[in-house]
C-alpha cells in the first residue's frame, strides 16, 4: 500500500515536470483567459460564450493530457528502461501499475483544478455567471460559514452547481480515457495507442446520437401505429453493438445544463460517476492482467 503511494507521488512529480503536461496546461490557461476576449466580440450572452468556450478548452486539454500521458506513462518507462529498476524491487507489478496510474490521475485532477480556478477568476473579473455563495451550501466550493448580514465587506461568489459538476466530470472522463490509452499502450506502440484512444473517445461521443438515429421509430400512418426501421438490420446491429461496448462519453458532457445554470440531479450525477469509475476499473484490471505477464525487455 505504502509502495503504491510512493509510486503515485513519484509519477505525479515526473508528469508534473514533463514538457507535454506543462505545454498543455499553459496552452489551456491562455485559451481560457483568451475566451474573455472572444466573448467580448459579442453583445449578447457574453457569459454563455465564455462558459462554452472555456469548458470546451478545459475538457479537451484534460482529455489530451489523459490520452498522451496515459499512453506514455508506462510505455516510456519501459522504453527508457527506467522501469527495470522499479520492477526489480520487491514490489508486485500491479502495485507499480496502480502507482503510475494514480500519479497520472493526480496530475489530471491537479490540472483540472488549476484550469477551473483560472476560469473562476476570469468569470469573477467579468462578473458573469457566478452566483453569490449561499449560506447553506454543501456542494458549492468556496463556501464559508454563513456571513452575518452586512458584516461582510464583500460578497463571496461561487461557480454555479452545474459548472462545478462539469469540472468533476471532466476529471472522471479524462482519467477514464487515460485508462484506455494506458491499456492500448501495453499492447501497441505509443503513437497507435494515442490514436486508438482518440478514436474511442470520438466514437464514444457520437455513439449515443448514432444509436438514436438508427433506432426504429413509431409513426402514425393512416391512423395506425407502425414501427419504421430507418436503417437496415446489419447497420443497426453494428451501431447498437458499438453503442453498447464502447464507453458513452457524451454522458459526461453537461455543457448545455452548465450554460443555462440548470442544476443536475443527484441521481444523474451518481449514475455517471459510478459508470465512469466502473468502466475505468475494468480497463485497469485488463491492463494489469496484461502487464503482469508482459516481457519487459
Amino acid at each position: 500500500m505504502e509502495k503504491i503511494l510512493y509510486g503515485a507521488m513519484y509519477s505525479f512529480k515526473e508528469i508534473k515536470s514533463s514538457k507535454i503536461f506543462y505545454s498543455f496546461l499553459i496552452f489551456a490557461l491562455i485559451l481560457i483567459s483568451g475566451s474573455y476576449f472572444v466573448s467580448q466580440t459579442s453583445f449578447i450572452n457574453q457569459g454563455r460564450i465564455m462558459v462554452d468556450f472555456s469548458i470546451f478548452a478545459i475538457s479537451i486539454f484534460n482529455i489530451f493530457i489523459g490520452i498522451f500521458i496515459g499512453s506514455s506513462v508506462v510505455y516510456d518507462d519501459i522504453e527508457k528502461k527506467s522501469v527495470f529498476l522499479a520492477l526489480t524491487r520487491p514490489i508486485r507489478r500491479t502495485q507499480y501499475l496502480i502507482g503510475r496510474f494514480l500519479g497520472l490521475a493526480a496530475a489530471i485532477i491537479f490540472s483540472t483544478i488549476i484550469m477551473m480556478l483560472i476560469f473562476y477568476f476570469v468569470l469573477l473579473i467579468m462578473h458573469k455567471f457566478i452566483v453569490p455563495a449561499m449560506p447553506v451550501v454543501k456542494t458549492v466550493r468556496h463556501a464559508i460559514k454563513p456571513p452575518l448580514a452586512g458584516s461582510m465587506p464583500f460578497t463571496l461568489y461561487s461557480l454555479p452547481q452545474p459548472l462545478i459538476i462539469q469540472g468533476f466530470f471532466i476529471i472522471i472522463e479524462s482519467v477514464f480515457i487515460s485508462a484506455a490509452a494506458l491499456l492500448f499502450s501495453l499492447v501497441t506502440s505509443k503513437a497507435l495507442a494515442s490514436i486508438f484512444a482518440i478514436l474511442v473517445f470520438f466514437i464514444g461521443n457520437v455513439s449515443s446520437r448514432m444509436n438514436d438515429l438508427i433506432k426504429p421509430v413509431r409513426k402514425v400512418i393512416n391512423g395506425k401505429t407502425v414501427t419504421v426501421h430507418q436503417a437496415n438490420h446489419t447497420l443497426a446491429a453494428i451501431v447498437h453493438f458499438i453503442y453498447t461496448v464502447l464507453p458513452n462519453f457524451s454522458l459526461f458532457n453537461i455543457s448545455s445544463e452548465a450554460a443555462y445554470k440548470i442544476s443536475v440531479s443527484g441521481g444523474g450525477i451518481s449514475y455517471r460517476i459510478i459508470y465512469g469509475i466502473c468502466y475505468t476499473a475494468l480497463l485497469f484490471v485488463i491492463s494489469s492482467l496484461i502487464f503482469a505477464s508482459k516481457d519487459i525487455a
Partner: protein, 259 residues
Amino acid sequence: MIELKNVTKYFRVGFFGNKKNAVKDLSLNIEEGQVTGFFGPNGAGKSTTIKMIVGLINPSVGGIKINGYDASDYRARLKLGYLPESPSFPRGLKGIEIISYYSNLLNIRASKDAIDEALKSAGIFHAKNIQAHKYSKGMTQRLALAISILGDPEILIFDEPLSGLDPIGRKEFKDIIFKLKERKKTIFFSSHVLADSKELCDRIAVLVNGRLIKNKDVAEIEKEAEAYSEERKDNSLTGEYNTPLEIYLYDLMLKSGKN
C-alpha cells in the same frame, strides 16, 4: 542461491511471430557468497538470462528459483540488487529524488544516511542535486549502481557494470565489487571483456549463442587454458590477447559460435 533449470527463452519476432531463440536449455546454479562472471559475445543471451533472473521477462520453458521463490514472485527480490545494461532515468528529476523513490520501494526502507552512503560509495554524491537527464553516461551508471546496492542486498546482479566507464571509473567499480565480495555477497555479473574482470571472479560461466559452454571455477579453467596454449603454439593473437585464459576463451567462443 539462484537456480536456473532448463531455461529456454524465445522471442516472437516479425509479423508472423516467428520464434527466435535467445537462450537454449540453460541450467546453472549461482552459488551463495561467490562471484560468478558471465561471459559471452554480443547477442549471446547474457542480458536475456539476467532479465529472466530478476523477473523482468519470463522463461518460455523451464524455471528459475531465487532462495526458493520463483523469479516472477516479488519475494524473490527481497534481497536483490540489479544494475541494468544501460540504465536511464526519467527527465526532470534530481538524482536524490530518484534514489529516494527506489529506496521507498524496498521492503525495509533505507534511511537518509544509507542513501547518502550508497551515493558516496558509488561516487555520485556530489551530483545528487542535479537532474539525472543531465548526467553523463558514467554518472548515470553510478547512480544506477547506488540504487542497486541500496538496502545492502545479499544478491547483486550486474549487467555489464564496466561498460562505458573510463579507466578510473572501471578501477573504482571494480573496487566496489571487491568490497562487496569481501562481505560475502552473491554476485553475478556479465561482461564480454575477460581481461578486465577475471580477477574478480570465483567462477566463470560462458554463454555462446544462448548455450552454456563452460561453467567452472577459475582455477580449473585456468588449468585447461594452460594445457590448451601448450598445444596451440600459434601467436597470431598476441597483442590483442595475452594470457592463456583469454586465448582459450576466445577460441572457445569462436568455435562454438560457428556451430
